[in-house]
């Protein structure tokens, strides 16, 4: 593998697009929530403002090295996921660095950021951080089960674990998407997405009214800015993963934006409707209904 400046440039550009699209999506989401409540809501550029404001705050405190590294790990997780995710099919350069590893790499790389964040906020020493993390990890373990079942089902279906190959196999028309060819796995996967994006009813991790926003309680100013940046990237990238897995991927940026928008808003719509689960409820829920779909997905393709 030799160094390729052009690829690096494209990747950085892609990162920029993803970041801004992520911020815009969160803006739209909040606006939407406001309109549901008959408010005017935030201005559309508010996320950028908040980001700039947070980066511009002057005083910072640090609880120690790991507290400092936590956000780095976290955004490393998001950016790394982006790096190993093929973004636009058909363009060699927009595939980023996905030739280094397959779906398994992506699945396990999610943990990178999570672990870093957990450790960082752990060093903050705040009890709510620890409670939030313990809930987050608990919930995460079960979220991944239907997801894994869906991915294995896909791997059986497409005979590969390579995300690029899976996307390529879905090209050539609307009817080739996994959504139609393997609907059960898609349902399992989309259930899992709900948890992964941690919107209501699975937003117990941050639970602002209960344990002041959970893990990032102690994070502020620049650190918080980094975390916000990561959130924007991560949400788009996760949506992109589901897009690639179930909805035929994207052949251009417009398609990318359209598809990620709808995938992301699936969780928003659900979140508007359902109240929050307690942790043991959400754990048990993921091991019931989505699990059944996941198992079904494998049985159907075995």
């Amino acid at each position: 593998m030799d160094f390729d400046i052009k690829r690096l440039g494209f990747t950085l550009l892609g990162l920029l697009i993803v970041l801004n699209w992520g911020l815009l999506m969160s803006s739209i989401m909040r606006k939407l929530g406001a309109r549901v409540a008959k408010r005017y809501g935030i201005r559309w550029f508010q996320p950028w403002l908040d980001l700039v404001k947070n980066y511009a705050l002057r005083s910072q405190i640090s609880h120690g090295i790991m507290f400092y590294l936590g956000p780095v790990f976290r955004i490393g997780g998001g950016v790394g996921l982006f790096l190993f995710m093929p973004m636009i099919i058909g363009s060699e350069l927009w595939l980023n660095y996905s030739f280094h590893g397959d779906l398994v790499l992506l699945m396990y790389f999610q943990f990178f950021g999570m672990l870093g964040m957990a450790l960082g906020s752990g060093e903050g020493g705040h009890p709510y951080s620890a409670i939030g993390i313990s809930r987050g990890l608990s919930q995460f373990t079960t979220i991944e089960v239907p997801m894994t079942l869906a991915i294995i089902s896909l791997a059986i279906q497409y005979d590969t674990l390579s995300l690029i190959d899976i996307v390529k196999a879905q090209q050539g028309g609307f009817q080739n998407w996994t959504m139609w060819t393997n609907p059960v796995a898609t349902i399992a996967g989309m259930f899992s997405l709900l948890g992964a994006l941690s919107h209501s009813p699975f937003n117990l991790v941050k639970a602002p009214n209960e344990i002041p926003i959970g893990p990032p309680t102690e994070y502020h100013s620049t650190f918080l800015g980094v975390l916000q940046t990561n959130a924007a990237i991560l949400h788009v990238v996760e949506a992109a993963l589901f897009m690639n897995l179930f909805f035929g991927g994207a052949t251009n940026w417009f398609e990318f934006i359209l598809k990620t928008f709808f995938i992301y808003f699936w969780s928003v719509f659900v979140g508007v409707v359902f109240p929050r689960f307690r942790i043991e409820q959400s754990v048990a829920w993921f091991l019931k209904i989505p699990l059944v779909f996941g198992v079904l997905a494998i049985i159907l393709y075995m």
Partner: protein
């Protein structure tokens, strides 16, 4: 000033010095105030040296005001309507945050008992700089109807710097919105530097605070 007042009568037993035996059997003294808290003094942070950049940043700060969700007195009941469709403070970039670490604006909503003042000081000091204080109601101005109470402060600005006072008992959300707009103007003009003022006059503020908080059992500045 640097010496914390150690009046035994009011000492919290948890913050008293204690002798502890380590796992290797050696004994040593733990002084919680010194060992568990940072004793660094606040700093005066200079604005960005490039005026344009500072102006831009001030604009961002002004348009993204995150309010600490801490209701100190009766006025805290006026804040929730602020977020409702009728007043909808979100459109001004205002939103509430549950932790002082992530907040910029502290609304002192009404009378302050001495006991509450201690918590207010702690929360205020935990907010990252630059930070702003909105003081609500006459109680924060001159004690209001509690002017002769044995336990309620009369003037907030002797204890923490106040950016905007809102008179009234209680001021309506409209008044609060007006105060926010005034605050925005101040910030955009570059006058939202009260945090630096607090740091610069730190000793004076501390003296005032310690005068009424008799059981002072925290470090001078709560980072």
């Amino acid at each position: 000033m640097s010496e914390t007042k150690n009046n035994n009568k009011f000492e919290n037993p948890h913050y008293a010095k204690r002798e502890v035996t380590g796992p290797d059997g050696k004994q040593f003294i733990v002084d919680p105030i010194k060992d568990y808290f940072s004793d660094e003094r606040p700093k005066v942070y200079e604005p960005n040296s490039i005026p344009v950049v500072e102006k831009f940043l001030n604009w961002a700060r002004a348009e993204s005001l995150w309010v600490l969700g801490f209701g100190t007195g009766c006025g805290s009941i006026e804040i929730p309507p602020l977020m409702t469709p009728r007043f909808d403070a979100f459109r001004f970039g205002i939103q509430s945050r549950p932790t002082p670490r992530q907040s910029n604006v502290f609304i002192i909503s009404g009378y302050l008992a001495v006991k509450t003042l201690k918590r207010v000081i702690r929360s205020y000091e935990q907010m990252p700089s630059p930070k702003y204080v909105l003081a609500l109601g006459s109680c924060t101005i001159n004690g209001g109807m509690y002017f002769d109470s044995y336990n309620t402060i009369n003037r907030l600005d002797h204890y923490i710097p106040v950016d905007v006072y809102v008179a009234g008992c209680m001021p309506r959300p409209e008044a609060l919105l007006a105060a926010f707009n005034r605050l925005k103007e101040l910030i955009k003009e570059g006058k939202g530097e009260k945090a630096n003022e607090y740091a610069a006059n730190f000793d004076w503020y501390k003296e005032n605070q310690k005068k009424i908080i008799k059981d002072w059992n925290m470090p001078d500045y709560n980072w």
